[in-house]
Symmetry: C2
Subunit: 414 residues, 2 copies
């Protein structure tokens, strides 16, 4: 088989850990596989370099920042290649410009357009291990680009797609994807498999194990992603196409996000264009609005509630008061907000065919006396906003209520 | 004018010094010039990276080492470009692969084959400052190469040649080339001009201000090199073609090297092939032999004396005893050595037309009671080996004897 292994900054954080990475690569190779490795910068290195740029320029040019921070991965590939050689193997490093990982020219957040897998295939065919720099690429003018934070996951999956690899193993400091946060739900269960779609919903909700773009890319090219621990040999979680998921479960996971605040506008005139005018000033200032719920009243007025990142709440209220005083009141008297909220979500592809999930979810919360402030649903996710103090209780209640601590075969009812 | 400025590791060693470099670049630009800057890695960075490689592999692969250590200059170009932007200028960084500095594939000691100056010229034509990574290049397969220690000087001169620059300014921590080491000769005089040929002899003798290959390159392409201090604005020393040197002096400088040891073989059979057999084992082990003097005796035997780097002396004696016992004696009884020597040289293009320099040199030394052990001459240099304890006395004596502390016009006689 051809296997791509991606190691994060912690996994290559010291010389000793690099040696462990080298050993694992060689073990995989000795088991009869071809191995391509994607590595991140040593942990702390990217931040060290960013700090240098900030000492020189308060708003440093993105092209130059990419030239600087891409050196983190460049050092890592050279060192890991040396570690593999020191352990008796054959290895060759590749930079983004050598692979060649062609991206657009959006410095600091470039997107991969194309990868020429041939140079890597040539090296693998000679029995060598290819060690590829994550996070970086090159545009069509030869400029160095970077893919944004977490970009090494994306490189790993993109390389796996370009090589037609049998699997892309993402090595991290947890041993897989869990049905919920084990810190909140002690009996959270590690998932053997999860679909790309579910993983996308979970990733964006705070289960920050896999970079979301890497999952999108995996879905697009059908790359089988194996999330597993770099500190053990146990199987982790496979992120795979829905049809190949053996666990035909209704709900796969429960997550909570505490990073948002809620803003409510009451008694707005109920007429076309109000919502558009409301959100324009926020969009102009790059405030990302998440859940939006509007309730039409009977009296020609309407209530509008939405969530924003907690750190943007104060600025958002100010922006609305300043920019659309005719809607929110010149003193903002129609605005209220709540920072003490929490968004709890259940995710699962099985919801598509099981109508009762929402009902069960609401009943489980009601039984615990937890009031629901907002509801928002997608095809495979139901999210509710509740008071923050109930976050852990809600997650545990839903986790147990949907039987997530049991293997799928043992669950009854929903 | 088009001016190339090269800054070494000390000149870009801190964020503050990078700001000073940026200011100087912009000052040069405001004076009406186009400016291309070549920078080294921040001081200490290359050694830090080399230390990492050694922790992973006792004999690290040169290709991977080049991938790793070339990041030092990569970080520098990005940071200096940011510093210029922060100071209100326009700047763009270039890596060796972007310039494009094509080299052979001799990793760790690559030689420049060709430079495509067009991308840099395009940037300069737009009024921007080009910031170019020193020390690194790329081979025809896209591998990163490095030019060896001091390679940034070579990059600077090569870039100046490729751009047809009017001058290549080498910024360093001394303010020019001196007639001798000011630590030994307090009245050593800074040279206004020196020819490439003289600089080559001086550089290889220990005046380690300019990397020797950069001088060769400057001579080949007629690049006018200006060695000057990065901490002041005073004129330094111009290294220029001989014909444009205004100082038609006989002797330009006096240097001493204490890095060598002397090995003598006495009473060797005087027959063809002896010298070749003697030096073969040393060449095989990369011992670089410097001065070689052979004296034929009257009795069918010959004496052979040569110098080697001090650190190689012990190994050299062992190698000769082991490999050519029939020549040196099975117990090495024909070998003797002396670690306490010093090589003192006077250099000057004027020697070509002045026969009396050697005579004057020997007389000056004799007057001080300094015995000459070995003599070796080239077209523009005379070197003698003397006891180390006389090193400083010899240098001062020759410096004053040839009148080097006086401006050329004020010198009398030789």
């Amino acid at each position: 088989m051809l296997i791509v292994q991606k190691y994060g900054g912690t996994s290559v954080g010291t010389v000793e850990r690099m040696k462990a990475v080298a050993e694992r690569c060689l073990r995989t190779q000795r088991a009869g596989h071809q191995v391509a490795v994607v590595v991140s910068a040593m942990s702390g290195e990217t931040n060290r370099l960013l700090e240098l740029t900030r000492q020189l320029h308060e708003d440093p040019n993105d092209r130059e920042v990419d030239v600087i921070i891409s050196t983190g991965e460049q050092v890592s590939v050279g060192l890991v290649a040396l570690a593999i050689r020191a352990a008796g193997g054959k290895a060759r490093s590749f930079l983004g410009s050598q692979c060649k990982i062609l991206t657009d020219s959006s410095f600091a957040r470039a997107r991969i357009l194309e990868i020429d897998g041939q140079p890597i295939k040539d090296v693998l065919a000679k029995g060598e291990i290819a060690v590829i720099a994550g996070f970086q690429g090159v545009d069509d003018k030869g400029n160095i680009t970077t893919l944004g934070r977490g970009g090494s996951d994306t490189t790993g999956v993109a390389i796996a797609a370009a090589l037609g690899a049998d699997a892309c193993e993402i090595y991290t400091d947890v041993d897989g994807i869990y049905t919920s946060d084990p810190n909140i739900v002690p009996n959270a269960r590690k998932l053997d498999r999860i679909s790309y779609e579910e993983m996308l919903e979970l990733a964006s909700l705070g289960a920050k194990v896999l970079q979301i773009r890497s999952v999108e890319l995996g879905m697009k090219y059908g790359v089988r992603i194996h999330v597993r621990s770099s500190f053990s040999d146990v199987e982790g979680t496979w992120v795979v196409p829905e049809e190949s998921s053996m666990e035909k479960v209704v709900v796969s996971g429960v997550t909570a996000s505490r990073d948002e605040a809620k803003i409510t506008l009451e008694d707005l005139p109920d007429m076309p264009g109000i919502a558009a005018r409301m959100f324009a000033p926020l969009a102009d200032e790059n405030v990302s609005v998440d859940m939006i719920v509007q309730n039409q009243g009977y009296d020609g007025t309407t209530d509008l509630t939405f969530t924003v990142p907690k750190g943007d709440r104060k600025r958002s209220v100010q922006l609305l008061t300043d920019k659309v005083p005719d809607i929110v009141g010149t003193k903002g008297e129609r605005i209220s907000y709540d920072d003490e909220i929490c968004k709890v979500s259940v995710v699962g592809v099985g919801m598509r065919s099981h109508a009762g999930v929402a009902k069960t979810m609401f009943e489980l919360l009601a039984k615990e006396g937890i009031n629901i402030q907002l509801i928002s649903t997608s095809e495979i996710k139901i999210s509710v906003v509740i008071a923050r103090k109930y976050a852990e209780l809600a997650v545990r209640t839903l986790h147990d209520g949907f039987g997530l601590s049991l293997p799928p075969a043992d669950r009854t009812g929903l």
